[in-house]
C-alpha cells in the first residue's frame, strides 16, 4: 500500500463509530485502492493536454473516452435523467473547446476542470428547476421525466434528496465515480479533511435514513 492510500486510511481511522461509517463503496477492494482508482485515468490524460490546448480532434476524442463515462455517471446521479446528463456532459466539452487555449495544468487538472463544469451545470439546472417549483425529477429544457431507477431503494433516493447540493454531489463523486478525497476536494474547493468530514456525515445520514425507514 502506498503512502497516498495510507493517508486515506488514516483519515477514516478514528473512533469505532467513525470506522463504521467510513467504508466508501462497501467492498474492501475499493477502500484499499481509493487513490489508485482515479490516478491512472488522470495521468493518462497528461499526454493529451497539449493536444487539447491546440484543438486536436484526436486529443478531444481520447479525453472524451477517458472521462465521459465518469462525467455522465455523476451528472446522471445529480439530475437523475440520462438525456439531461448527456447534454450537460456535451456542454462541458464544448465549454472546454473555448477554454482550452488558456488551460494550465496536467491531466488531473483537466479532469477536475471537466467535473467542475459538469457540477456547476447540474447545480444550475437543479436550482432553476427549484426556482420554477418544478419537481426535481423533471428537466424543463428536455421536458422529460426521469425514469425510475429500479436498482436504488426509493428510501435512499429520498434521503439523497434531503442532502444539500454540495453533500449530494460529493457523495455521488465518491460512490458513483469512485473519486479520491483529494480529487473531490479539488472539484468542490474544500480541503481534503473537510471533504472526508462532509462525506462521512452525509453517508451516516443516508444510512440512518434507510435504516429508520426499514425498521419503521
Amino acid at each position: 500500500m502506498n503512502g497516498r492510500s495510507c493517508s486515506g486510511c488514516s483519515i477514516g481511522s478514528g473512533s469505532s463509530d467513525e470506522e463504521a461509517v467510513t467504508p466508501t463503496t462497501g467492498s474492501d477492494q475499493d477502500t484499499t485502492t481509493e487513490e489508485e482508482i482515479v490516478a491512472p485515468s488522470a495521468h493518462a490524460l497528461d499526454a493529451w493536454v497539449d493536444g487539447i490546448r491546440r484543438g486536436s480532434d484526436d486529443a478531444y476524442r481520447a479525453v472524451y473516452d477517458h472521462t465521459a463515462s465518469d462525467l455522465l455517471s455523476f451528472a446522471n446521479g445529480m439530475l437523475r435523467n440520462r438525456t439531461a446528463a448527456e447534454d450537460v456532459v456535451q456542454q462541458a466539452f464544448l465549454e472546454l473547446v473555448a477554454a482550452a487555449p488558456s488551460f494550465r495544468g496536467k491531466g488531473e487538472a483537466l479532469r477536475v476542470w471537466l467535473f467542475k463544469s459538469v457540477r456547476f451545470r447540474c447545480l444550475d439546472q437543479l436550482r432553476r428547476a427549484s426556482a420554477r417549483e418544478i419537481p426535481t425529477d423533471r428537466i424543463p429544457e428536455q421536458g422529460v421525466t426521469v425514469e425510475p431507477i429500479l436498482e436504488v431503494d426509493p428510501r435512499l433516493l429520498a434521503a439523497l434528496d434531503k442532502l444539500s447540493e454540495r453533500q449530494r454531489s460529493m457523495v455521488l463523486m465518491r460512490h458513483v465515480v469512485g473519486m479520491s478525497g483529494a480529487e473531490i476536494a479539488s472539484v468542490v474547493g474544500l480541503n481534503r479533511a473537510a471533504v472526508y468530514a462532509v462525506v462521512r456525515r452525509a453517508e451516516r445520514t443516508l444510512r440512518e435514513s434507510v435504516m429508520e425507514e426499514g425498521t419503521s
Partner: protein, 232 residues
C-alpha cells in the same frame, strides 16, 4: 457475514456513453473546434504582451538612443521617424543632425557614394533653413573629406567637389565645363546701368534694368541676343 451497504446501490447511477451518443458528442466537439477561430496559445499571447510592453517602454529609450545613429545603423529609421516631432521644438536640430551624419560617415570612412548622398541631403536641409554656421561646418567637413581622400586613395569618380555636389534633382554633370569665362578683373561686381548708357555693341549686354550680377555658378548661360531691347 457482513451486511450489504445500502450506499452500494448508488452504483446504479453508473452509466456509459453509448456509441451513438459518443459519435454525436464528438461531432459537436469537432464542429465547435472548426467554428472557433484558433485562439492564441498562452505562450503566444505572452509574447504579444511582452512586445507591446516593450514598445511602450522601450520606444522612448530607442528614440533617445537613436539620436547618434548614422545611415545604415539599426536605429537610424527610428531617428528619422522621431525627427518630425523633434523638429516641432527646434527646426535647426534636424539640419544639425544631417551635418553631423556627414561628419560621422566621414569619420567612419564610409563609401564615397553614401557620403555624397548624405552631403546632398544635408545641403537640401540647409537650403530650407537659415543656418550659415552649419553650412560652414559642412563645408569644412567636406573639405576635410576631400583632402583625406586625395591624400589617401585616389578619387574614384569624376564627381565634382562636394561644395558643388549635384543636387538630387539635377543630373550629375561636370559644371566646370559650362562655367562662363571669368569676368574681367576691372569689371564691377555689381553694376547699375541703364540702356541709355549702354553702347550699342555686340558685347554681352547687361540686363535692361537695374540688375545685380548673378553668381558665377548659378547663371552660366550667356544672355541671348534675341531679348527685347529698349533702344529706340
Amino acid at each position: 457475514m457482513s451486511k450489504r451497504d445500502p450506499l452500494d446501490q448508488l452504483a446504479a447511477f453508473r452509466v456509459h456513453a453509448d456509441d451513438d451518443r459518443r459519435a454525436r458528442d464528438l461531432e459537436a466537439i469537432g464542429t465547435e473546434l472548426r467554428r472557433t477561430p484558433p485562439a492564441q496559445t498562452v505562450g503566444r499571447r505572452r509574447w504579444t504582451v511582452a512586445v507591446v510592453m516593450a514598445m511602450i517602454f522601450a520606444g522612448p529609450a530607442a528614440a533617445v538612443a537613436s539620436g547618434d545613429a548614422l545611415p545604415g545603423d539599426l536605429l537610424y529609421p527610428i531617428k528619422r521617424v522621431v525627427e518630425p516631432i523633434v523638429q516641432l521644438f527646434d527646426r535647426d536640430v534636424v539640419v544639425e543632425r544631417r551635418v553631423e551624419e556627414v561628419a560621422g560617415l566621414v569619420d567612419r570612412d564610409s563609401e564615397e557614394d553614401v557620403i555624397l548622398e548624405r552631403i546632398d541631403i544635408a545641403r537640401d536641409a540647409l537650403a530650407e533653413s537659415n543656418a550659415p554656421l552649419l553650412e560652414e561646418e559642412l563645408d569644412r567637413i567636406v573639405d576635410r573629406w576631400l583632402t583625406d581622400r586625395s591624400t589617401g586613395t585616389p578619387a574614384v569618380t569624376d564627381r565634382p567637389p562636394a561644395t558643388t555636389a549635384p543636387r538630387r534633382d539635377a543630373p550629375p554633370t561636370d559644371r566646370r565645363d559650362q562655367e562662363p569665362e571669368p569676368a574681367p578683373i576691372d569689371a564691377p561686381e555689381s553694376t547699375t546701368t541703364t540702356t541709355t548708357d549702354r553702347p550699342a555693341t555686340s558685347e554681352p549686354p547687361p540686363s535692361d534694368t537695374t540688375t545685380t550680377t548673378a553668381p558665377r555658378d548659378t547663371d552660366d548661360r550667356p544672355p541671348s541676343d534675341d531679348r527685347p531691347r529698349d533702344t529706340p
